[in-house]
Amino acid sequence: MLLGFLVLIAIAAIRLRDLFAVVMLFGVYSLLTAALFMDLDAVDVAFTEAAVGAGVSTVLMLSGLRLTRRWEEAPGHRPPLPLMVVAVTGAALIYAMLDAPPLGDPTAPVHQHVTPYYIEQTPLEVGVPNIVTAVLASYRGYDTFGETVVIFTAGLAVLLLLGVGGGHSFRPGENAIGDQTVLKPVVKTLIPPILLYGLYVQFHGDFGAGGGFQAGVIFASGFVLYDLAFGEGNARAVVPPAWLHRLAALGVLIYGGVGVYALFAGKAFLDYSALSANPVAGQHAGILLVEIGVGITVFSVVLSIFYAFSGRRRKS
């Protein structure tokens, strides 16, 4: 059922030339994907896809669209080469699927090797109920460190391309979507719960779905909302753009710092057991610290990218 909708959206995305509609469809696609992930027991992924894929990506694409054009030009001749490449690739994928273990098969290698160790050992070695968090932040914590650096890199790249965004030229009170008398009180009441929820997600990741990534996004979205409703400049007064990239750097350094600390304590890089005499307590502390680093970097990069896009005026 969900997959059927996804297919329809994909076809529509190919055919439509109104890019605004295409981007909105992309948002719906991400949201449906998130629902599909829920269905497949991937709660953390669903949460992230909804926040990052449907939320951040769509907002970014809309701000990108604002600075370019809404309508795609009528396509010229369509060369046959792309269709052939796609056909060959698709055939290779279907070929691959013929020997793939069927969906949900408990004898599939994925469920036989490595995974059982995580499921059995997480409560003993890491001591957090959410196995995804344990694997993410500890067993494969180095991947997540790399991921934090990827976000930092993206923030840096946008900064290099578009600059800090706005700066002094913004009058407080001038906003992107016009004067919204109805929206303002709604936003005003919404923001405190959003920020609170962000904090909850940040620190509750050990137990349920959530963690630094989702929290950073939610926190940033609170500011974005404020910015949209109350005008550029107001949110910038609370968190100046110039500070954001320093904050992003700080987040990476917090994560890396935990690793380097372990290194000087005579353990491997990112070995959290160096943080405490009791290894499980060390894991707890380590996960908490690195998630804070992740949260700070994600928050500041998402917000700074939003500033960079919204601070730019269309030239043509």
Binding site: P109, G141, V149, V150, T153, R246, G256
Partner: protein, 524 residues
């Protein structure tokens, strides 16, 4: 554990963590100093690592203290240590020459951020080489890619933007293909650790899923590698990127992609699977040859020298791909050797171009008029680099081509040996074009005041030029190591990956078939 035991991870996190520091420092000069310091320390670390691996064999480092396959492992073997060494050496040398060039070419943005992005690209490449985990490759690939897109877009010409965008699209397709490939391998084995994969793959190597995974990995890495015909992003990217960026990328990025290709084909799948059961051999040999010939041909007609050298790089990658495709010890030795040698050549040539751009302001053929008199040291370096590119005896370029020809003859594929020589002749043509203009043509009026490049550019430039000659004369050192690395890659991780396949009677038939196919490809 002392600090020396942490070398595998230190060579990655040192540049990685210096990048945010550069952002915090905010002053271009301070950031340059920090970046340079980090790069040289990393280089020293990589040199120590080479010594460690030579003494005690491959090093495994368990990140987070978790044993593989549950945790992520860093694994540095002989070849890996050398690739780390060359990447860090190039970063250190290029950064040495960077300050003046960056001040001249990159003025719209804060230089500190530029150095931060440079360090991220550098650290990403180091991470790809050091890791022993298939998914970790993807993560560090994206660190280096994203920062590279930004670095390329910093070029002055507006086409730098479109070049970066094109690279972003093709690079992301490549990365997604790699992701699909890793997914298929994971689906059939349940593991992501490379050694563990190598152990578990033979059991399921007959499945279609694993075969398709192999294909997706090869195409994905081929895109990153700019393997013909997937090279379309590269000439623009190299031409319009700032000189410093081009010099670093040309000397390192594609080399790391070659290393990843070798590691997956030989280290994980094993040569028997990659070249025996999959038709890779019949794909790599013709593609390598077509890359050499067509890209050399295009290079001959270029008037922008950066673009000329970019097409020459596509051709040089063709030699490497050909070496892998020939799949005997000499062939892989040639591929590994050329990986290093090409880094030395193109590093020198692109730093020299950076110096020309710094003094003259352009790198078109016209800019080279009479340059032999005005910038004798820079032009001298270009001549020697060019000779190395051609493969003249006494330079490193000769050594790798020698092994390539040996490999072809050993397989009885003499037409391939001949075509390698044809490629060299074409290199003579495009190198001569530049040399002729520099030495036998009058300087255009009004630009007579240009003088020799600054010392900070000449030092790294001539270091690389001398390395081109030194390793061209002392072949036992580099060739010995490459051969050792080739054997380790293909046989060191257990007997099942040994070259048994090549020595078996079946291989003669395979070789004959390959020759037939290649001849058919040539006549077509």
């Amino acid at each position: 554990m002392t600090l020396i035991d942490h070398l595998p991870v230190l060579v990655v996190i040192l540049p990685l963590l210096t990048a945010p520091l550069c952002v915090l420092l905010d002053r271009p000069v301070a950031a340059w100093g920090a970046a340079l310091g980090a790069a040289w320390l990393t280089f020293v670390g990589a040199a120590l690592l080479v010594g460690q691996v030579a003494d005690g064999g491959a090093i495994s480092y368990q990140l987070g203290g978790w044993a593989p396959p549950w945790g992520i492992e860093y694994r540095v073997d002989t070849l890996g240590a050398y690739v780390l060494l060359i990447v860090s050496a190039m970063a250190a040398l290029v950064l040495l020459s960077a300050r003046e060039s960056v001040e001249r070419e990159i003025f719209r943005v804060n230089g500190a951020r530029f150095y931060a992005a440079f360090l991220l690209a550098f650290a990403g490449l180091m991470g790809i080489v050091a890791t022993g985990d298939a998914f970790n490759v993807f993560v560090f690939l994206e660190i280096s890619s994203l920062s590279t897109y930004a670095l390329i877009s910093m070029g002055r010409d507006r086409r730098a933007l479109t070049a970066a965008f094109q690279y972003l699209v093709m690079g992301t397709i490549g990365a997604t293909f790699i992701l699909i490939g890793i997914g298929f391998l994971y689906m059939m084995t349940g593991t992501l650790n490379m050694l563990d994969l190598a152990e578990r793959l033979p059991e399921v190597s007959n499945t279609r899923t694993v075969r398709a995974g192999f294909a997706f990995l090869t195409v994905g890495i081929g895109l990153k590698l700019a393997m013909f015909p997937l090279h379309l992003w590269m000439p623009n990217a190299y031409t319009y990127a700032p000189s410093v960026v081009t010099a670093f990328l040309a000397a390192t990025a594609t080399k790391v992609a070659v290393y990843v290709l070798l590691r997956f084909i030989l280290g994980i799948f094993g040569i028997e699977f990659g070249l025996g059961r999959m038709p890779l051999e019949y794909l790599l040999i013709p593609l390598g040859l077509m890359g050499i010939l067509s890209a050399s041909m295009v290079a001959i007609y270029q008037v922008e020298i950066k673009r000329l050298l970019a097409y020459s790089s596509v051709a040089q990658i063709g030699y490497i791909v050909l070496g892998v495709g020939l799949a005997n010890t000499h062939g892989i030795t040639a591929a590994v050797l050329h990986l290093f040698n090409h880094a030395l050549m193109k590093g020198a040539l692109f730093i020299a171009l950076g110096a020309v751009a710094y003094r003259i302001g352009a790198t078109t053929l016209d800019a080279f008029s009479g340059l032999g008199r005005r910038m004798p040291l820079t032009m001298g370096a270009i001549v020697i680099g060019g000779l190395s590119l051609i493969g003249v005896p006494g330079t490193v370029g000769f050594v790798s081509k020698w092994y390539l020809v040996l490999a072809a003859l050993e397989r009885g594929l003499w037409p391939i040996a001949l075509l390698v020589l044809v490629g060299s002749v074409m290199a003579v043509v495009y190198v001569w074009k530049v040399v002729e203009r520099a030495y036998f043509s009058q300087a255009s009026s009004g630009s007579g005041e240009a003088s020799e490049a600054p010392l900070m550019m000449l030092i790294p430039l001539w270091t690389l030029v001398l390395a081109n000659i030194y390793f061209g004369l002392h072949t036992d050192l580099s060739a010995g190591l490459a051969r050792q690395a080739a054997t380790v890659l293909s046989g060191g991780q257990g007997e099942r990956h040994a070259f048994a396949y090549l020595d078996s009677p079946g291989s003669a038939a395979g070789a004959a078939g390959g020759a037939g196919l290649c001849q058919a490809a040539q006549s077509a």
